[in-house]
């Protein structure tokens, strides 16, 4: 049976309009609820972060709030509470790092960026997710981080190494992926402003969809050798949706010697 709102009595029309208005208001306040229902999921019901992601945050230029400088745009900061709680000696080291950043930043050598820097560095990374693990492939260095989500725990000291990207053990708290990372080396920085950590670094990451194409990323860093208390970084990650977009391997560290290969006709 066809109905036409215009043929209804005026109170019906009003009701129809106010229902629409009410729906609109609900939509305004109900975004999160709608997103929870529409986010991509694996067959087991867990959120599926598979895809290519990148932040628009300027966090990699310096996590703390800063004005512009010759080598960085201004930035409102990505640290909760604005300041990284360095221990006094560590703060001195951070200042030295900052002074020498044009030569000492490991990313300039093409080295693996570490955790959490690889996530907010301005190059894309791709997430490949299965029930048992989540592999993150970074375009920069094409380094691979595996987050185990199969219920296994960090290896004991006898079996553990110090990794560039740590030992990653994740679990789900509702739709939030909580990833506990430790066993790091001390060779990575947190940004190109010289913020740093030691091999005692412990990171807890929280990954959460706020809509199907946006992840809210938080990382809480603890390091008794460097910081006086745990502190938290946050950034939004956006899904790359450009047509035919893909990762392009960026083995930056090979560019110092790659001109010697391959052999060419007529060349020594």
């Amino acid at each position: 049976m066809k109905t036409n709102l215009n043929n209804k009595p005026s109170w019906v029309r009003k009701l129809g309009i106010s229902t629409l208005l009410a729906a609109g208001i609900l939509a305004q306040f109900g975004i999160a609820t709608a997103a929870e229902q529409s986010i991509p999921r694996l067959a087991n019901g867990k959120p599926d972060f598979s895809g290519i992601w990148q932040t628009t945050s300027a966090a990699d230029y310096g996590l703390e709030p800063h004005a512009n400088r010759k080598d960085a745009p201004p930035f409102i900061g990505a640290v909760e509470g604005n300041t990284i709680p360095y221990l006094p000696q560590a703060l001195e080291q951070k200042k030295k790092n900052f002074e020498n950043r044009a030569t000492d930043d490991p990313s300039l050598k093409g080295y693996t960026l570490g955790v959490p820097r690889g996530i907010y560095y301005p190059e894309p990374f791709q997430i490949f997710e299965r029930a048992a693990d989540i592999n993150i492939v970074h375009q920069f260095g094409h380094s691979v981080r595996t987050i185990h989500t199969n219920g296994t725990e960090h290896p004991g000291l006898e079996d553990s190494n110090d990794w560039w990207l740590g030992d990653n053990r994740g679990h789900w708290e509702g739709d939030v992926l909580v990833n506990d990372v430790k066993n790091f080396n001390d060779k990575t920085w947190l940004d190109r402003a010289g913020d740093f950590h030691s091999d005692a670094l412990h990171v807890v990451e929280r990954w959460k969809f706020i809509d199907p194409n946006t992840i809210e990323y938080k990382a809480t860093l603890d390091d008794a050798k460097v910081y006086s208390r745990p502190w938290t970084i946050s950034a939004l990650l956006h899904r790359h949706r450009e047509k035919n977009f893909q990762l392009i391997e960026d083995y930056r560290y090979t560019t110092d010697y790659d001109q010697y290969y391959p052999p060419q006709a007529g060349k020594k």
Binding site: F128, R130, N150, W163, W164, Y261, P263, Q264
Partner: protein, 333 residues
């Protein structure tokens, strides 16, 4: 369950029997004749390099094994080459060409060593143009006393092993996702796109090239372009240029235990004709013991589920760790 495990081991035994592993290829003649099944069942100590003198042909055809939800044949898991390593591309058991310190025990005759990875032409040699053959010959000398940077194999400087060398370097993981087959190699990662998108613009040249694949029954067919031509095929110095084109077939046996790589390499600027590369591969399971080379993993227990295989981080930059790896033992803190 017990039955299945022991069958798995039996199947392996025949492989391992033929495939005793050694750090030095030269010792294999002596050891192979004295090998006992009991020894052969032991995983190689300290990381070894297996070999087979021959391997089964696998025909392209239907896939009758398990499939993934998206219809791909399920070949997820940990795999490796079964013949030696990257020391010598065309004579895999022959040691590094031009080695000034040849093995103490003479090599067995050529026909008792594993076949060339070049399966066509029949002579097993890469059909290089004369200038390119001359470059390879120079590399055979220069490699052992590199007075010029081009005589250092790029893999030794942490460059990705590239196509096809990654397949006969260490073991690796094949992981499948809707739209992708991903190879997590010891040195580098290859993402094979199954969604039919076009290749990258041709001025973008990559160590691992650019890969577009599709499944034909039991066979993953991959079109490979955008090589940077820099990776070399081994310590024997063979190479492709940035004009090269490779069509790869990964032909999987329906029992899921093996695949053969058969790939046609074409490059009119380096070769006189296309040639075919054949590399046999086998799967490893959590029932087996990691051996530091072909099965370079750790087996861990998943609470309530049993053993599973984990793969350690593989990061190499400026040879910044033991054997090119980035990891150091965690200090007692």
């Amino acid at each position: 369950m017990k039955n299945r495990m022991s069958q798995g081991k039996l199947g392996l035994t025949s492989l391992v029997l033929g495939a005793l592993s050694f750090a030095s290829v030269a010792t294999f003649a002596a050891e192979a004749t004295t090998a006992k099944p009991a020894q052969a069942q032991q995983a190689p100590a300290g990381g070894g390099i297996g070999y087979e003198k021959s391997f089964p042909k696998i025909e392209s055809g239907k896939w009758t094994g398990p499939k993934l939800a998206d219809g791909q044949p399920d070949v997820n898991g940990h795999w490796s080459n079964t013949i030696s390593n990257h020391s010598n591309f065309t004579d895999p058991n022959g040691g590094i060409p031009g080695d000034p310190k040849p093995p103490k025990t003479p090599l067995p005759p050529r026909n008792e060593r594993a076949p060339s990875r070049v399966s066509d032409p029949a002579d097993g040699q890469v059909p290089f143009q004369p200038w390119a053959q001359e470059k390879v010959n120079q590399f055979h000398v220069g490699f052992h006393n590199p007075t010029e940077p081009q005589y250092i194999e790029p893999l030794a400087r942490c460059a990705p092993a590239g196509v096809p060398k990654s397949l006969y370097w260490h073991g690796y993981e094949i992981a499948q996702y809707p739209g992708y087959v991903v190879f997590f190699f010891n040195s580098g990662t290859r993402i094979i796109h199954l969604d039919g998108k076009p290749h990258l613009p041709e001025n973008i040249k990559l160590w691992n090239a650019d890969s577009r694949g599709h499944w034909e029954g039991n066979t993953l067919v991959v079109d490979v372009t955008n090589h940077n031509g820099k990776a070399m095929f081994g310590r024997s110095g063979e190479f492709i240029s940035e004009n090269g084109h490779v069509v790869e077939k990964y032909i999987f046996a329906n029992d899921g235990k093996r695949y053969n790589y058969e790939a046609v390499f074409t490059d009119p600027s380096v070769y006189t004709r296309p040639f075919t590369v054949t590399i046999p591969a086998r799967k490893w399971t959590a029932d087996e013991k990691p051996n530091g080379w072909h099965f370079e993993t750790r087996v861990v227990n998943v609470p309530g589920q049993g053993p599973t295989i984990e793969r350690d981080e593989r990061i190499c930059a400026e040879n910044n760790g033991g054997f090119g790896m980035g990891a150091e033992k965690t200090a007692k803190k």
